[in-house]
């Protein structure tokens, strides 16, 4: 008579349910103890580092297909001495099984005064010479990139200012 209706269907499931019923008060006690201890975590800094997922904002085929299938590119390296990426930094991303370079055009992290803060971490895909893979950037980019990309470019090396030519709106 101590047999529950679930036994006849699946004895494994009912024993699991009985286990959970025994374990539940212990789990509740653990949750209560951690809550009463006053443990808390600080708000996330939303910095861009390795394995951060980024959003491609140009109209390149690679970028569009990656964003559409729900597998956005992941940052795998930041070309800077600091291990975090800021607006205008060059990063290496893993996108659809390939490695591509990109420029960070907008960060979700809290910014200094007068610097726009975006709702998503945006990138524009480029090749080794700094030429963008797409033909147009449909989202706004900050005006400070005009200065930063010129600074990054070398006369006989990569020219990163080409992405400014395909931008539609500056903020």
């Amino acid at each position: 008579h101590g047999v529950s209706s679930g036994d006849s269907i699946n004895p494994q499931q009912s024993s699991l349910r009985q286990l959970m019923m025994n374990v539940k008060p212990i789990l509740q006690l653990i949750v209560k103890c951690t809550r009463d201890a006053g443990l808390h975590t600080c708000a996330p800094l939303q910095q861009i580092q390795k394995l951060t997922r980024l959003r491609v904002i140009d109209n390149s085929e690679l970028g569009k297909s990656a964003m559409l299938e729900g597998r956005p590119p992941k940052c795998i390296h930041i070309y800077s001495k600091i291990r975090f990426g800021y607006t205008g930094d060059k990063v290496l991303v893993a996108i659809k099984g390939q490695k591509k370079k990109a420029i960070l055009t907008g960060c979700h992290q809290n910014q200094k005064p007068l610097m726009p803060k975006f709702d998503s971490n945006n990138i524009v895909l480029i090749d080794d010479n700094g030429s963008p893979l797409g033909t147009r950037i449909l989202f706004p980019i900050p005006t400070m990139l005009r200065h930063k990309l010129v600074e990054m470019s070398r006369p006989k090396g990569a020219d990163y200012t080409k992405i400014l030519a395909i931008a539609t709106r500056f903020v």
Binding site: L114, P116, P140, T143
Partner: protein, 298 residues
């Protein structure tokens, strides 16, 4: 009524503390040694009551950055006085209008990287803070389906013009939940015309209730006691846990209110100090535009 009683108690408390003359050694720790409370010194003797009456009632709400940060470790009377002088000098050059969280504003800044060397941004004020010359506000807008926020320091010399396009208040003091709301609640046209309201009319309150996107959110909005949100539609357990985190005793905590405010006598002193400039400050509040500024776009 509660607020009135609280204010009376705070006033008597300040007088008692002033008479004790607490002060002395600097403390590096947090709460063991009481913070140094500077004694209150009256700047004028005789006609106190008359001057208190002349101060407009809403000055502390319209110009909140003139009041210093109440934290005693950060108080420095001389620095505050010099800052107020600098603030008034800046306001003489560029009028900073009256605005609230929820007002839609347009800010023009000098930007060496922008075309024409100036850059204009229009957005809704979602938060304001800071005191003195470091007073700031954040504007939010959704441009080309991209949410953008910019923090402006009100007294920065890089700012050419601050214009209030729609003067209104909202049901909450901070609108940070707009980051998790549907984009239409943060979208405002960049070429918006200023909407003028009558002189002397009270600031309208927009009772708009905002709908949030599905979770995850930036913060636990159900715990923040916000009035400007539609029903969040969360399971019952969220509201139960929110109730556990509630602190209903805080509104009765007089010392907490005392630590978070500048005593009324000091406020009166500060506003009396800036009283020679009342005309200029009142002129910046005037809503009807006297002159039109033409922005020549090359």
């Amino acid at each position: 009524m509660m607020a009135g009683l609280a204010r009376m108690r705070i006033l008597s408390l300040t007088r008692q503390l002033a008479s004790l003359g607490l002060g002395g050694r600097r403390h590096t720790g947090s709460s063991a040694v009481p913070a140094k409370v500077l004694p209150y010194r009256k700047t004028r003797g005789d006609d106190d009551d008359v001057n208190m009456q002349q101060i407009p009632d809403d000055f502390r709400v319209v110009f909140p950055e003139f009041l210093p940060d109440p934290k005693p470790e950060w108080r420095n009377r001389l620095r505050e006085k010099l800052e107020r002088q600098d603030m008034l000098a800046r306001r003489a050059v560029m009028a900073i209008p009256e605005f609230y969280v929820g007002s839609i504003m347009g800010v023009t800044v000098a930007d060496p990287n922008a075309s024409g060397k100036i850059n204009r941004f229009v957005g809704i004020c979602i938060q304001r803070g800071g005191t003195g010359l470091r007073a700031w506000f954040i504007l939010r807008n959704v441009i080309d389906h991209q949410g953008i926020e910019i923090l402006y320091e009100m007294y920065s010399p890089l700012i050419n013009n601050i214009e209030v396009l729609r003067l209104e208040k909202r049901l909450d003091d901070e609108l940070l939940y707009l980051r998790d709301a549907l984009p239409e609640y943060s979208t405002f046209p960049l070429d918006m015309d200023p909407e003028l309201i009558q002189e002397g009319a009270p600031v309208p309150v927009n009772h708009l209730k905002v709908q949030l996107k599905p979770r995850p959110w930036h913060e636990r909005w159900e715990r923040k006691n916000l009035q400007g949100l539609l029903d969040l539609g969360l399971p019952e357990r969220f509201y139960k846990r929110a109730k556990l985190h509630e602190k209903p005793w805080e509104k009765f905590d007089l010392m907490k209110e005392y630590r978070a405010t500048i005593p009324e006598e000091e406020q009166a002193d500060i506003f009396r100090e800036i009283s020679p400039h009342y005309e200029q400050l009142e002129a910046s509040r005037r809503r009807a535009k006297r002159r039109r500024t033409k922005i020549i776009r090359s």
